[in-house]
């Protein structure tokens, strides 16, 4: 067997002293009695419970609300690291939006042969009804979450793009609120860039994409599937913070060619709908007929310029895992530049030679479902038992096109506070990106997810992951 991989520890880099971004935090931490910190960690939990920041786990036997565990040690990123990341993210998001616009209009990238036609045409995430539809302001992806992992001092990879309805931004905001309440002294010692402007930026960004039919100040609403949805807290939180209405499908209907919400005084038109409902459920007349979550006819109103839907329907084709492997080409094709952020090398199991390789090296690889998310239906080779490997092998052989495979990355670690003191755990990072005709804005920070189990590489909250506050330092 090979050597035990070494993982980059973001706090100490493997040395005796904290790396520069963690220097001040490290000094402070060294002077804190562990008992006080543990007490603070318990306070944090009470704080989250009282605030009601909970989520429902799909498939869990009890419908109880759970907390995503929060760790009090922040993840710290220097100004320099952040500036490089943001250039890369901005480039990537621009390319994604250009790709969507192209795919739903002239399809030049297909004509140029840079992306195979079948990959689009046979893809469930591709929405033929969007062909020829131009969203207001030319924006498809109003909100994007780019999942990044780090493997060394200077190496970041994009693990996946979230171009449909990325979630988790409420944790970015509430984690910071919690840290401010618990450790105010840290924020006077260390200059951390604020994240609290996000809701205001979101509102401004959405308003800038108002449809042609909008008269005056745009009316913005958030569409939620309802209080039983796992992310309901976030929907309510964002609507509240933006000063927007929180609506469900049954509050809305088509009135005089607009989408209108039922108020205490009758129906009032909405200009921009930030929907947290999947494409399929958006419109029972145009998509899934059995959906109760959407609004009959909303897609027709959308097509005629009566409303802006954010993100636009059909954006899923850009964050599909099979498309992911083409992202370096896509970035180059639309920006004419070399990609700043790296892609993880990816084997497309639909290709015979790749499938052969993957089957031979299953125990070393991470295999993902092309359309999966949330860490469901995924195999982490090195962590899997013989039985699990064999079961997965059978699935792969049966439906190879359903899977992609990637090397197991040496994800960086950041310490968490355990009973025995600090202990390194693997992390990823999801910064949140807003796009409007006025430009791209990236909130300095993001959601750091952390695998709480020792050695685990799966950070998803549905699989027992936690979160950390993410600090981007001022220059």
């Amino acid at each position: 067997m090979g050597e035990t991989p070494t993982f980059f520890n973001e706090m100490d880099g493997g040395g005796e002293r904290p790396r520069p971004p963690y220097a001040r935090y490290g000094d402070w931490f060294a002077g804190e009695p562990t008992e006080r910190l543990r007490r603070k960690a318990r306070e944090a939990e009470t704080f989250f419970r009282r605030t009601g920041i909970t989520f429902n786990v799909y498939g869990a036997a009890d419908a109880d609300e759970r907390l995503i565990p929060f760790d009090i040690v922040p993840r710290i990123i220097s100004a320099k690291e952040w500036s490089k990341l943001t250039r890369g993210i901005e480039q990537r998001v621009r390319a994604i939006n250009a790709f969507l616009s192209d795919i739903y209009h002239r399809q030049e990238i297909l004509r140029a042969g840079r992306v195979p036609v079948e990959l689009i045409e046979n893809n469930d995430a591709f929405l033929p009804k969007m062909l020829g539809v131009s969203p207001p302001g030319g924006v498809y992806t109003h909100i994007v979450g780019v999942d990044l992992v780090r493997t060394s001092e200077n190496e970041f990879f994009v693990l996946e793009d979230n171009a449909r309805t990325p979630s988790g931004v409420s944790y970015m905001l509430e984690n910071r609120e919690t840290m401010l309440q618990m450790f105010p002294e840290l924020f006077t010692k260390i200059r951390v860039r604020p994240v609290s402007d996000y809701p205001k930026m979101l509102r401004r960004s959405l308003s800038a994409c108002a449809p042609p039919a909008c008269k005056g100040r745009p009316v913005v609403a958030v569409l939620t599937p309802g209080i039983h949805n796992s992310a309901y807290y976030e929907h309510a939180f964002l609507a509240d913070q933006m000063g927007a209405e929180l609506v469900e499908g049954h509050d809305l209907r088509v009135v005089d060619g607009r989408i209108a919400m039922r108020t205490t005084l009758g129906y009032t038109p909405i200009d921009v709908l930030y929907r947290r409902v999947d494409d399929d459920y958006l419109d029972p007349l145009n998509f899934r007929a059995d959906s109760f979550l959407g609004v009959p006819g909303i897609f027709d109103v959308y097509r005629s310029g009566g409303i802006t839907i954010a993100n636009a329907p059909g954006t899923g084709i850009a964050d599909d895992k099979a498309i992911y492997s083409y992202m370096p080409d896509i970035v180059q094709f639309y920006t004419g530049e070399k990609p700043i952020l790296k892609n993880v090398p990816t084997w497309r199991c639909s290709e015979a030679s790749s499938l052969a390789y993957v089957l031979d090296h299953l125990a070393e690889l991470v295999v993902k479902e092309v359309h999966g998310s949330g860490g469901y239906g995924m195999l982490v080779g090195p962590a899997a038992s013989k039985k699990e490997l064999e079961a997965f092998r059978a699935k792969l052989v049966a439906k190879p096109a359903n899977y992609i495979a990637q090397p197991t990355l040496a994800l960086s670690t950041v310490p968490i506070l355990t009973r025995a003191g600090l202990a390194p755990r693997h992390v990823d990072l999801r910064p949140f990106v807003l796009m409007s005709p006025d430009g791209i804005e990236i909130t300095p920070g993001g959601l750091t997810r952390v695998a709480l189990k020792k050695g685990s590489l799966v950070v998803n909250s549905s699989q027992g992951g936690g979160t950390k506050d993410t600090w981007v330092l001022e220059d």
């Binding site: 509240d240 509050d251 039922r262 108020t263 205490t264």
Partner: protein
Amino acid sequence: MLGKTAGGLFWMYRYLERAENTARLADAGFRIALTRSDHADDEWASIIDTASARAAFLEAGGKFDGPSVINFLLRDPANPSSVISVIEAARNNARLVRTALTREVWEAVNETWITLKSELARPVRETDLPDVLTRIRNQSALVRGATVGTMLRNDIYNFARIGTFIERADNIARILDVKYYVLLPSVQLVGSTLDNVQWETILRAASAERSFRWLYGGETRPLTIADFLILDRRMPRSLLYCIRKIAGNLGHLCSDYSVRRPSLDHVLALRDELEDLTIDQIMERGLHEFLTRFIQSNNALAGHVEEDFRFNR
């Protein structure tokens, strides 16, 4: 504001008010059981009647003794009006209308739910009952304080208040109706122990025993009690007080919206009628008939509000 949000606020505050009144009712029953044990079982039965829950209680196999009634009223999930059921319903409505609440109000409701869920997870023992009842009262006070102290006086607040007072008027009228016969002048045989017990229950369930004593000293004539709980304008749980509050809040709402709606006409008519009445007139026409009509009218008012402001359609 969304019609759904208005409805959510209205119901959230109705449920909160109901939780508090149910706890008071349990408290009144408990007090009697402690001091007049010979009448205790009758009292528990009438307390179940006051909560309009006799059928559900008997169906659940309940016996008219302290522990059964207390647990049914406070923590039986099969009883849709038990404290835990209505607190859960209030909190669900609060989640639904989260964007209309201040952080303080939301956290107060959420904390109430968390606290009471754990307090009421196991059967309440007699020794713990006073603490549990105090906790319910304190939590209600916390939510009310957060509401009054932090909410903007706009349509949101008006719907919250309308819900509160419609529920309160309903609860008080029911308490009176169950006991109406002890308030009738004809049974003014005065001073029998039983009557004293009954009157005390009524006042205590309306949280009015102290203010009644302030105003009337040692005098406990049934007519005075009836007058106090029905027509006193200073007593925050009297029927007239509730109706005047609703009239005020509906008035603000309609003037904010620049509309006139049937619910406003309805409440103004009801208010004028009550203001013109004396307790003697009420007794003359029949207390029970009066209360039955009041409960119906109050229900109809709730229906008008729901329709006028498009809670559901």
